[in-house]
């Protein structure tokens, strides 16, 4: 157990979406998009959240932001004032003062900025919402933010269309930082960017983190990017956490066959290293009707009879390393 209390402590987080059917739209079932996820994020750390599309990583991150309301579980957050609150249980009015502390960077730098507002208004809006009514004061803060993300302050009177994808992502980061947040949730922040621009934005995120002591929850599907930026990585599959470990340990020896399969699927940028065989067949099962036993067993090449009937629990393999596999620690995947 770490000595200090984590900044964010997610316990048993659940988010079910109802499936309605028929004329009366009766609820006939639930999509268990996030089904009992536990993790902690320490202050100043980056936790990477990975998985295929449909695994619930975006839903989980939206719950933490309370962009959507979780169905169950606790999201314990240590506020700047030092007390711990459960974000999942707060009423909207109680949540509002905390919104400044938790901010988001979006995937699409083209869709997430208002094209009719100048940078001053785009980046300055969170300031206005948080009570900075004086326009001169806001302009000063926006200039400071633009400088912080490597853009020229003179740009603040231009509109988003004048900027390239990489520059827009910097603008989105500046907006997220406007209110001095402590926790930044970044959902695929570099996946829409070109290789050379991607490196620039990753460097910026790392630099800002050390300068401002930010905590990142970094949601992405690109394992090489997540590996580069994260201290620890959580792997999700069909709404559940299947493995969580420090980055080095995870890559040195993954303790879940799903993690291992994800790693093998990444094309290596070296023609002399052929991507290993053992491609993961099939697709992520629907969270509305997950398979019996271990959710991964229909795609798992190590699956045995036990996996079809008995759902494995998340258990500790080594300090800080947990896996949801019956054979974790006894087998190399």
């Amino acid at each position: 157990m770490s000595k200090t209390q984590p900044l964010l402590d997610v316990r048993g987080l659940q988010k079910f979406f109802p499936i309605a059917e028929g004329f009366l739209q009766r609820v006939v079932g639930h999509v268990r998009a996030v089904d009992g996820v536990d993790f902690t994020v320490d202050e100043g750390e980056t936790l990477g959240l990975v998985g295929e599309s449909g695994c619930g990583k975006t839903t989980a991150s939206r719950c933490i932001l309370r962009a959507i309301d979780p169905t169950g579980g606790q999201i314990l957050y240590r506020t700047r004032a030092g007390n711990t609150v459960d974000l999942a249980a707060l009423a909207p009015a109680e949540l509002r003062p905390l919104r400044a502390e938790i901010q988001m960077v979006f995937q699409d730098p083209f869709g997430s900025l208002n094209p009719r507002m100048t940078l001053l208004d785009n980046v300055g809006e969170p300031l206005l919402v948080n009570g900075m009514k004086n326009r001169r004061e806001r302009a000063d803060r926006v200039a400071e933010l633009l400088r912080l993300v490597g853009l020229r302050p003179e740009f603040m009177h231009r509109f988003p269309h004048a900027f390239s994808g990489g520059q827009r992502q910097r603008i989105g980061i500046a907006r997220a930082l406007a209110t001095n947040p402590r926790l930044v949730v970044a959902d695929e922040p570099v996946s829409a960017l070109d290789v050379s621009v991607q490196a620039q934005v990753l460097n910026l995120l790392l630099e800002l983190q050390s300068r401002l002591r930010l905590t990142f929850l970094f949601v992405a599907h690109d394992l090489s990017v997540v590996r580069h930026i994260s201290d620890r990585i959580a792997v999700m599959y069909v709404g559940q956490l299947v493995e969580l470990a420090p980055t080095d340990a995870l890559f040195r020896q993954p303790q879940h066959p799903y993690t291992a399969a994800l790693m093998r699927a990444v094309p290596v940028a070296d023609p002399r290293v052929r991507t290993a065989d053992g491609i993961l067949a099939g697709e992520v099962p629907s969270p509305a009707a997950p398979p019996s036993g271990c959710y991964f067993h229909p795609r798992c090449r190590h699956a045995q009879a036990r996996c079809r009937v008995e759902a494995p629990a998340l258990r500790k393999v080594s300090p800080g390393h947990v896996s949801r596999c019956h054979f974790a620690g006894t087998m190399t995947f």
Binding site: D194, T247, R274
Partner: protein
């Protein structure tokens, strides 16, 4: 002449420009490369480098206000018995003429980036493929194909690309299929007329890594089975390393460097290729350290730098780079590069 060495497609000094109100955008500015029969050619470059426009030019699909202003696109057609036929210059063919219509989809097929946008949502995927087969039916047999036959061919194609339950899936609409299945159906459509050249424009960008691995394995398998030449366009250097045998690196509408995949990755000659390779996070490198980046940003298309297009961002730029455009010349045994660090040849002004 050894026909295996003669290129299937030969692009020479291709220029495509878009006359916009704000000025002329030279999207492709003197691009040259060859595709040999059965070769997988990888084209890498960042957005705005002209890779997609080049491919649209090869299919004569450049839309107004874009225009092929000069250059040659020599394509070796197949004759009716499948052997090599006449060589045509696609750049000179009318886009809507009978020859171009026969080549497009028939001899050169395209796998687009967004299969969701490429399939019509109001027709079943099967119907759309059947239509393509009937349009190019002489590639399957001499006499006219019936709809029934075309449907059977489509079922066979679906099975070939690894779609389970093809008889049912053929009657699905594109929005009923998952991303991976949709891309497989798109590949089936591209293969439906037995093309000699397949252009895959970022075919795996919109899908998951695991599905990407499946699609890449499928393309590799089909390529080996039918010996189709593939032009594989992507910005993902990992995909290029795993798929291509020969690589063309583009920047601002020009070829910076080209060569066999091993040379490009292990002995890159052009500063742009070198910088690009350094800037990607790997699965083995040191984590949480600053990645080497290419300084500056891509110039605005109206604002092309004079001389070598890369010189404002190049760490090794010399005085000459800002005035003269380096030619694509052989450097070393198999590579070509357009860089004054390696030769002195400039394009004629």
């Amino acid at each position: 002449m050894d026909t295996n060495k003669a290129p299937l497609l030969s692009v020479r000094d291709l220029r495509v420009s878009f006359a916009l109100d704000e000025g002329l955008v030279r999207a492709v500015d003197g691009t040259s490369f060859d595709v040999l029969p059965g070769q997988v050619l990888g084209v890498v470059g960042e957005s705005g480098c002209g890779k997609s426009v080049t491919m649209r030019a090869i299919l004569q699909l450049v839309e107004r206000p874009g225009r092929i202003t000069s250059g040659v696109i020599r394509f070796r057609r197949s004759s009716s018995n499948g052997a090599d036929g006449e060589v045509v210059d696609i750049a000179q063919l009318p886009p809507r003429g009978p020859v171009m219509r026969d080549i497009r989809g028939g001899e050169i097929a395209l796998i687009p980036q967004e299969p969701m946008a490429a399939f019509s949502p109001v027709h079943t995927v099967g119907d759309q493929i059947v239509e393509a087969i009937l349009l190019h039916s002489h590639r399957w047999q001499e006499e006219k194909l019936s709809r029934r036959d075309a449907r059977d061919i489509t079922v066979g194609l679906f099975r070939d690309v690894g779609i389970s339950m093809p008889e049912q899936r053929i009657d699905a609409y594109s929005w009923q299929l998952s991303g991976g299945l949709r891309q497989r159906a798109m590949i089936a459509m591209a293969l439906s007329c037995k093309p000699r050249l397949l252009i895959a424009d970022e075919p795996t960008t919109a899908i998951d890594v695991t599905t990407q691995a499946q699609v890449l394995a499928l393309l590799r398998d089909l390529q080996a089975r039918y010996n189709t030449a593939i032009i594989f366009i992507t910005h993902d250097l990992g995909v290029i390393a795993q798929m291509a045998s020969y690589v063309v690196v583009m920047y601002l509408g020009r070829v910076m460097e080209e060569g066999p995949v091993d040379d490009i990755f292990h002995a890159p000659k052009h500063p742009y290729t070198q910088a690009l390779l350094r800037s990607i996070p790997s699965l083995y490198g040191k984590t949480r350290v600053a990645l080497p980046v290419i300084s500056g940003a891509l110039p605005h298309p109206f604002n092309r730098p004079a001389g070598c297009p890369f010189h404002p961002r190049c760490p090794q730029a010399m005085a000459r780079c800002s005035t003269a455009v380096p030619k694509l010349m052989p450097v070393g045994a198999h590579q070509l590069a357009s860089c004054f660090l390696h030769h002195d040849e400039a394009e004629a002004a």
